[in-house]
Symmetry: C2
Subunit: 232 residues, 2 copies
DNA sequence: CGGCTTGAATAAGTCATACCTTTGGGTCTA
DNA sequence: TAGACCCAAAGGTATGACTTATTCAAGCCG
């Protein structure tokens, strides 16, 4: 999953530093300095910088150095960029953006899933709905989170659209971030759990409209809760 | 925009080759061979491979070589991956995926735009709607395409959500691909143009429901046309 | 005979260095 | 002052030497 070796290590420093605004747009990074600061060779620095370039976060220019590009240029769908932003300063903005994205995508995915889900998909969704109910009643936040992530991932996958399916890690990151940063009620609301059961049932019954409506209620609720909680 | 220099050139060979299935999952690339085949140095090969690794398209492993990963692992939201797939074999699958994504995102973006668009945004949308009408009547496909792309980009940007805004190049690629591959009527349908005007008017009037509905009609229509045209 | 250890071969990973190419800016000249 | 010109600075590329991890197989032990 992660980029390997020293370039990965360097990236793990530079990426968050840029994403958090510690190195704002316009900052000039010079290869030689990076070598010295991190005690690595040219090769390593170049590979890390190349990756940042491919994410459109920096732009190397001869005679001038490697400059940090404005946030509006970044590849905001890149999983690494999303993770870096969630980790640091841009967290609230990132959560809000992702919240809107979820509102757009997840209901559509639920509708598609109701049409295209395989029998295995349906079985899995039912099982996960049960798990959610159980862990919610037990107020086991950790287990609830795990199953919640699995549930949304299952819906996205069952949609049969590869691009939706690939958003599973992103949605997972949002849910995790929400729990970690105490943006969630200490105990999952029974109403929310009921909605998850509704989604599962609608998909199993092959009812796209119902599935979409229930899922929309879930993600709109999550977004509103987010907006109400985030102060910045 | 593009990755610069020799690594970029190498990437422009390897990326499409992998995306098109010419180098299927499991294929082993050895650095030494790539050097010889493309007449470049290790430095260049390593940087190109690192970028492919960051897109999750290949996985370098010691003692074994750099193996091509299955398509399901790829970073399907990466603009380069999308472009490569649109260019080659995976084109139909890619267009379908993107079509569904548009159906999910663009109506939501239109609704947000109706709430948050600035006065400049609204002016621009009105102007673009006029341009669309004019070029459609003149059956000037090239100019129509250009304004169509600009229109959808403007809606996405006006939504105020950075992630939606970043999909503008992706949507542009779909529209371009559709025109290039003759998946469009030779003359834009007046009905479709009317819908674009409806979207612009609804956003200008601040009517989210109407904007969303009109935009949904546009993208659903586009998707259905696509499904009807694509044979594979 | 089967499983475990061990060692050698292999390919990627890293480093250091030399040299090339582009480009921004200063200088010199008309 | 305007223009041509030159130089230094920074990234770009090439290469050789060395390191490290990993696979595979030979060989050893139970």
């Amino acid at each position: 999953m992660e980029i390997q070796g020293l370039p990965g290590r360097l990236l793990a420093h530079l990426g968050p530093a840029i994403a958090s605004g510690e190195l704002p747009a316009g900052t000039v990074l010079r290869a030689e300095e990076l070598e010295a600061q991190h005690g690595v060779s040219r090769t390593v620095v170049r590979e890390a910088v190349r990756i940042l370039e491919s994410m459109r976060m920096v732009e190397p220019r001869r005679r001038v150095g490697t400059t940090v590009r404005p946030q509006s240029d970044w590849d905001v769908f890149d999983p690494l960029v999303i993770r870096w932003r969630l980790a640091g300063a841009g967290r609230s903005a990132q959560l809000r953006s992702l919240g809107s994205l979820r509102v757009a995508v997840e209901p559509a995915a639920a509708a598609l899933a109701a049409r295209h889900a395989s029998d295995d998909d349906r079985r899995e969704l039912s099982a996960l709905a049960v798990e959610l109910t159980v862990t919610a009643r037990a107020a086991d936040l950790e287990a609830f989170l795990e199953h919640d992530i699995a549930f949304h991932a299952a819906v996205l996958r069952a949609s049969g659209n590869e691009m939706f399916a690939h958003l599973k890690d992103t949605v997972g990151a949002v849910l995790t971030g929400r729990t970690e940063h105490r943006l969630m009620p200490h105990r999952p609301r029974e109403y929310a759990v009921q909605l998850h059961r509704d989604v599962a049932e609608a998909i199993c019954a092959g009812d796209p409209e119902l599935a979409e409506r229930a899922m929309r209620t879930i993600v709109v609720g999550a977004l509103e809760e987010l907006d109400a909680t985030l102060t910045d």
